[in-house]
């Protein structure tokens, strides 16, 4: 299937651009056109990077994990079924890779900071107001248990429905709702003072 996008030009004319669907691109890749995968990478890379960065809290790990997820998705493309949407399918792979990266980090001894005092004492990374606030939010997010962080990011950053989150994470909807609720409460406690100031 192909999507046609019609846009109005500066001089009143119309431009029709053709954007193949993700499923059509997958089909092309399976027929041997590897470069069609580059379009999928262009479309989904930033969203994947955002998820990985928010889950892992480290841009280097995030980029590495996203690359790993794309490679695994490519190799498993024969198992992708068109009735599934490519984006949640890819996200499921990515979330699994992030979990693996986190467990590796535990093996390295690089666990997330979960000590409020340590968080409070940590130096800010950016002196600009917006950057300072984002750094505070990132630190607070990193202080959440991994399951709550994952649920919060998928719900509030990626704005996914609970049904989609359940497909991606393998967790039940009620468990996910509870994780999101607890994450929101925890973030509120950690950030309320910063917000007021």
């Amino acid at each position: 299937m192909t999507h046609f996008h019609v846009t109005r030009g500066d001089r009143g004319g119309f431009t029709i651009s053709v954007k193949p669907t993700d499923a059509a691109l997958v089909q092309r890749v399976l027929e041997g056109d590897v470069e069609s995968f580059a379009v999928l990478v262009d479309r989904h890379h930033e969203r994947c990077l955002r998820i990985a960065l928010r889950l892992l809290g480290n841009s280097e790990d995030a980029e590495e994990t996203v690359q790993d997820a794309f490679v695994r998705a490519y190799r498993a493309l024969g198992r992708y079924e068109e009735r599934e949407q490519f984006a949640p399918w890819l996200t499921r792979i990515l979330v699994n890779r992030c979990r693996t990266a986190m467990s590796r980090r535990v093996r390295h001894g690089k666990t997330f900071v979960d000590d409020e005092l340590a968080i409070a004492a940590a130096p800010t990374r950016d002196s600009a107001d917006g950057g300072m606030w984002r750094a505070e939010v990132e630190r607070a997010l990193a202080a959440l248990p991994a399951e709550q962080r994952e649920a919060f990011v998928l719900k509030h950053v990626e704005e996914l429905e609970y049904e989609a989150m359940a497909e991606i994470t393998g967790a039940g909807i009620s468990a996910l709702k509870m994780r999101v609720k607890r994450a929101r409460e925890r973030l509120r406690v950690l950030l309320e003072g910063e917000h007021d100031s």
Partner: protein, 226 residues
């Protein structure tokens, strides 16, 4: 003046806004992905890929551990494990039972948790999935009646604590996995946080992660051995 709900809403909006911003995908990063893709093996139609991606490959038959035959064999295996534990205690390895495969296992509980090696059936020693990877069936057994959950982690499942949970029956945690032929490092994870070696298995040399994990070899002759 804002109400409490309005303040909460404003705070959450600021949080989510901050988390959505500040991430930019660069052409260089996307090109690095594509370089890795071009260097990768091509996808296989209708099968292959990674087990974690979900579902069972159409090339792979229904996992043996989900069949009624396995239920019977598993029951017999567990009984065998317990009987063997009683017979030899927990001091040393249990000899392999003819016609059965050695499995990775550990006993835990009591004042000083110790391990045993147990024998259990591995009826399908080897098979081929996705036309390339040869796998052996390995049954993992861990005796820990007090544990709330036990999982096997290893290089064959990327050390993912969620990938291979064991099932509890009669105080024995067990599960059968398809493990690719070759040498693998593995460990058990108890209650999601405690990593436990199988001390009766050879120990891997230390690596950058600290190392010292147990070693399992899956090959043509043995299906699985350590």
């Amino acid at each position: 003046m804002m109400s409490g709900d309005e303040m909460e809403g404003a705070l959450e909006a600021r949080i989510t806004s901050a988390l959505r911003e500040g991430v930019a995908s660069t052409p260089e990063a996307r090109e690095r992905v594509m370089r890795a893709i071009r260097a990768s093996a091509p996808p296989v139609r209708g099968g292959g890929g990674d087990a974690e991606i979900g579902g069972v490959s159409s090339v792979v038959a229904r996992p043996f551990w989900r069949t009624p035959a396995f239920a019977l064999l598993a029951a017999a295996s567990i009984a065998g494990v317990i009987a063997l534990v009683r017979a030899v205690g927990v001091e040393g390895p249990i000899p392999e039972v003819p016609g059965q495969r050695t499995v990775a296992s550990r006993r835990e509980g009591g004042p000083a948790p110790q391990s045993v090696v147990a024998a259990a059936a591995a009826p399908r020693a080897a098979s081929v999935v996705d036309g390339r990877t040869r796998v052996g069936q390995v049954q993992f057994v861990f005796v820990a009646p007090q544990a709330r959950r036990v999982a096997v982690v290893g290089d064959f499942n990327d050390w993912d604590v969620a990938a291979a949970p064991l099932t509890l029956a009669g105080g024995v945690w067990s599960g059968q996995l398809e493990v690719p032929f070759g040498r693998h490092d593995y460990a058990f994870v108890v209650d999601g946080e405690r990593w436990v070696r199988d001390p009766n298995a050879p120990r891997a040399p230390a690596d950058e992660f600290g190392g010292g994990y147990s070693v399992l070899v899956v090959d043509e002759n043995s299906g699985a051995h350590r």
